[in-house]
Amino acid sequence: MTAAGMSAALELRNLRVTLGTVQLVRGVDLDLAPGETLGVIGESGSGKTLTCLSLLRLLPRGMAAQADVLRLKGTDLGGLDEAAFRKLRGRGIAMIFQDPVGAFNPAKRIGWHMRAVLARAASDGAWQRRAAAALSDVGIAEPERVLRRYPHQLSGGMLQRALIAMVATLAPDVIIADEPTTNLDNIIEQQILALFRSLQQRLSSALVFITHDMRVAALVSDRLAVMYAGQIVETGPAEAVLHRPLHPYTQGLIATADALASGAAQLAEIPGQPPSVLDPPAGCAFRPRCASARAGCEAPQALRSPGEARQVRCLLYD
Amino acid sequence: MDTQQGQRGPTRREVFRAGTAIAASSLLPPPALAAADATIRAGITGYDVVNTLDPAYAALIPEYYLIWAVYNALLKFNADMQPVPDLAESFKVAENGGLEFKLRQGVKFHDGSTMTSDDVKFSFERLLDDKAPSPNKSKVSAISAIDTPDPLTVRLQTKEPFAPLLTFLANARTGTQVVPRKVVQADPTGFGRKPCGTGAYMLKTWNPNQALRFAAHTEYFVPGLPTIGTVDVPLIAEETSGVTALLGHQVDLTSTAPFADVPELAKRQDIKVLRQAGLNTRFISLNNRKPPFDDVHFRRAVSLAFDRNVLIRVVLFGEGVATSGLIPPSLKASYDPTPKPLTIYNAQRAKEELAKSKYQAGTAATMLTWGAGWWKRIAEVIAAQVNQTLGTQFTVEVNEANTVFSRLKSGDYQCSVWGWLGMIDPDEYSYDILHSQGWRNFAYYSNPKLDELLVAARRELDAAKRGQMYRESEALWIQDMPILPCFCSNVHNLLARNVSGFTQLPYSNFGDQFATLTLSG
């Protein structure tokens, strides 16, 4: 609730995503202050990508999303029709995708993509010049040359920069970045992360940064939210979550990462497998893998607030 | 049946059908259009190959369709199939079989030159020339000398009287049409593609395999003819397509019509159907040398075992008559109208004959036939009926027409659907098919008494006596049943409502009628 109030960039309450009778996202709340970065950590099937897509109303066919509240900069988005909502995409909320290669129309040059985006941004001047400027803002050398390239002629890192440039051109209030560096090599990943930081300073957009990698999340985020099986199981300031994780799942993830980084002889492991999306265990979904599981865990758990700006969905903190 | 019929294969249909002016005579002559500008589209149906328009070397039916329009012979047939003068003004038959012709005066070829007796002589010599043999040579080989005492007189000598010669000199499929000596000698091989005759129409353009265009010969020797300026002749491979083309107004006249369609088409108001008994004979050729047809009783049994009227009904859809011999009804002078009991369906007698034969029920035989169209239907119906009546096991084998003909010629068959069309003299039906030396004798039938009679008939110049001899011959061989006569089919032409002036003859004439065609509004 830190960033709540009229000034919140984004306010989401109790988001549920369903596919037929299956609940894929089971009540997610998000709050972002302007310029804030929220890191969302989760494994495959945790529902983090669906949460993002439903914010943009771009869920795949067949899936339905419902939320009690969805406000962007205080404006209620719940009642907007598709035509009105469309105008909001890109400029109100924009998204950066995991696979930069698949994000571009393979039949068109980068310049075409830039031009199409520039047509949405209200500004003047020759589009080539502005497109080149936008590309060079994201650190692309020789932007004029890149404009003439087709997507398949560029590396993933280059494409991700170009996509970021496109989004940046629209100066959205909220940027959602869904595992934007997962498909990239280490060195490029570092550069893109740096780019995100500088971009955010420049645009003062709020950023939702989704990742499965603790270390990456820590680099960019002000606050962290950890998702497991369609629910947020822990949130808090990034420093606090990394150093004093509360939820057993978060604790396990951080222990593993620490062990790897320190070169220990044996890695701390979380036993078992992530739950099936189609049939998550009743109650606390982490219960079957949890060393601290006890009586009561089989009941659904609510979020508790054990400390300043922190929340955790675990019986241990009652 | 026509020789080409066999080889052109499945989709080919017979051509030599004729028609009397059933329709034409009942109508008043319609007012002619601006005839010189008019075009008539006369579709040749069932064929789309025309190789040559040189009468000496023509072999295909559609070639003759057109040759009849481009050339004239000394004689032509009248509606009763009697030879009457054409290029000749008159003719005399001598006791010894020699013929003398007085030619018309001032007949012009298409190139403007005048026809003389020398051109006639040249035309016959060409047929007889061994160096470039014509397929029609046999038709005129009886001629021993050709004299041209003056430019308008031609005398033909024969070693012995040869009665069919007169018929062969008519404008039919015998290659005796008159060609200009100078033009042919200038380019003997190219002549077939650039024909030049005395006929009512001359060739303008030739689109191989597609269409030909003819223009009126303005110096044609019959005053006032031809009436139509241009005749387009599309070559329509599928006979059924010819019907749809006529119904859809893409052609004005067709050379044939599918039997099945004729009864329906005849009911329509928007077209005219010309039909009459044709000059043809359809039969089952039996190999008299091979079992089981080497037994006369078996042959008789089979002949008695099927109903020819069923063939007429389901194969011809009523467009024909059952026959008891080879000579078709259109050759009135030689035709024998008396039905022969051996060719009339009689299950009881059939079984009796089978009992007398050395073969029994269960005997198998293969009946050859070919391709699509109604030929295979004949075989199917006969085999089914014979099997039902006699308990035999006749099967139908469909082959390529070429193959069937080769097998017939080499005697490598048991029985086969067969027939001939367009033959204009009884000699062709009798001598050729059943004389032991006849070249069409694929039955390998030999009967000395018949041979003798047929040779005598060839020499008989008196038409009435000659006709009687053929009737006798038919009664003679039918007892041996060397082949199974089946039927004679009608010939048809389809005309658009506004087309008149087409006189149908039994031999499926076509181009010879272009001259008198008229269009009404």
Partner: protein, 320 residues
């Protein structure tokens, strides 16, 4: 370097094309020689005299060994001389027959292709956009029905139920487009439709599937996430990329299209390559059948080249 790669690609393609043509010629020639039937007898009549038959065989080199015949033929073919027709149009150079027939078939084929493309673009698009609704059901049903109808049967049905009742479409014959374009379009309509119907069905199904597949691509989601309008996304993203498989299938179907031409030409009496080949087949006109088969082969190969070039234009990833 791009230019060099391109020309190298061009040379390679030309070589492959030439090799395929030669191999095709070989196959066609020797297969035809193995066929039963004697062209001399077809040309001269079964009762032709032996000396005539011998003369015919000599004149057309039929008396030479097959390998020598092939050498003569392929040598001529390389110079555009396919010999002379034996039986169909005796003595006429086959090349000139083909020259008069090819434009007709090209016209009918192109006509059918245009009809099929036009029909399939509409049906495929509507089906994909209305997926699962009534329009889709109707469109898809048409598409499946279309492939299920034998084209020759459809040809007959069109003639008898359409042409004979609405004389604006001739039931028979063909007007050359050089003589009258209107006449050509009218006279070619029914045959082109008979050929096009099954093609349109296949194309429509392909387009529908391709559109649905592209609709699921991430770049479509990305485009929408950037706020691009639905029309813009559909034409520039979805349709543009769905055209790639569509054109590929179009190219593959040319062989069926040309196959359809063969039968339909004959039924409608259209003087094209198809009816020429059928007649040649019936008439044992070796040179004509060989030249036709080879010409058809060349048409397909050239179309493939064209489609490849088009695909390369549509899909920069495929460009050299």
């Amino acid at each position: 370097m791009d230019v060099r790669a391109l020309t190298q690609g061009g040379v390679r393609r030309a070589l492959v094309l030439a090799a395929t043509l030669i191999a095709g010629a070989l196959a066609v020639f020797f297969a035809m020689k193995a066929a039963p039937g004697d062209p001399a007898l077809t040309a001269l009549g079964e009762n032709a005299r032996p000396d005539l038959v011998a003369a015919f065989r000599h004149a057309h080199h039929l008396d030479l060994p097959v390998s020598a015949q092939f050498a003569l033929w392929i040598g001529g073919a390389a110079r555009g001389d396919f010999g002379q027709s034996l039986t169909l149009a005796g003595g006429v150079p086959v090349a000139s027959l083909i020259a008069t027939r090819l434009p007709v078939t090209a016209f009918i084929g192109a006509y059918a292709l245009v009809l099929a493309v036009a029909l399939s673009l509409v049906i495929g698009t509507v089906s994909a956009l209305q997926r699962g609704r009534l329009a889709d059901t109707i469109g898809t049903s048409f598409a499946v029905l279309g492939v299920s109808m034998p084209d020759f049967w459809l040809g007959y049905v069109l003639i008898f139920f359409l042409a004979l009742n609405f004389p604006v479409f001739p039931s028979y014959g063909f007007v050359s487009p050089t003589a009258s374009l209107r006449g050509a379009l009218l006279s070619g309509f029914l045959p082109a439709l008979a050929i096009a119907a099954p093609m349109a069905a296949v194309f429509a199904r392909t387009l529908r599937a391709a559109l649905l597949e592209v609709l699921h691509r991430e770049y479509v989601t990305v485009a929408r996430s950037l706020g691009f309008g639905p029309r813009f996304v559909f034409f520039h993203y979805v349709m543009r990329n769905a055209l790639i498989p569509y054109v590929t299938v179009l190219g593959l179907q040319v062989r069926y299209l040309l196959g359809g031409v063969v039968v339909i030409e004959r039924i409608f009496g259209i003087p094209g390559m198809g009816s020429l080949m059928v007649d040649g087949a019936f008439g044992r006109d070796y040179p004509v059948v060989q030249a036709c088969a080879l010409t058809f082969l060349a048409i397909v190969l050239l179309t493939n080249l064209l489609v490849d070039a088009l695909c390369a234009r549509l899909d920069p990833r495929r460009a050299a």
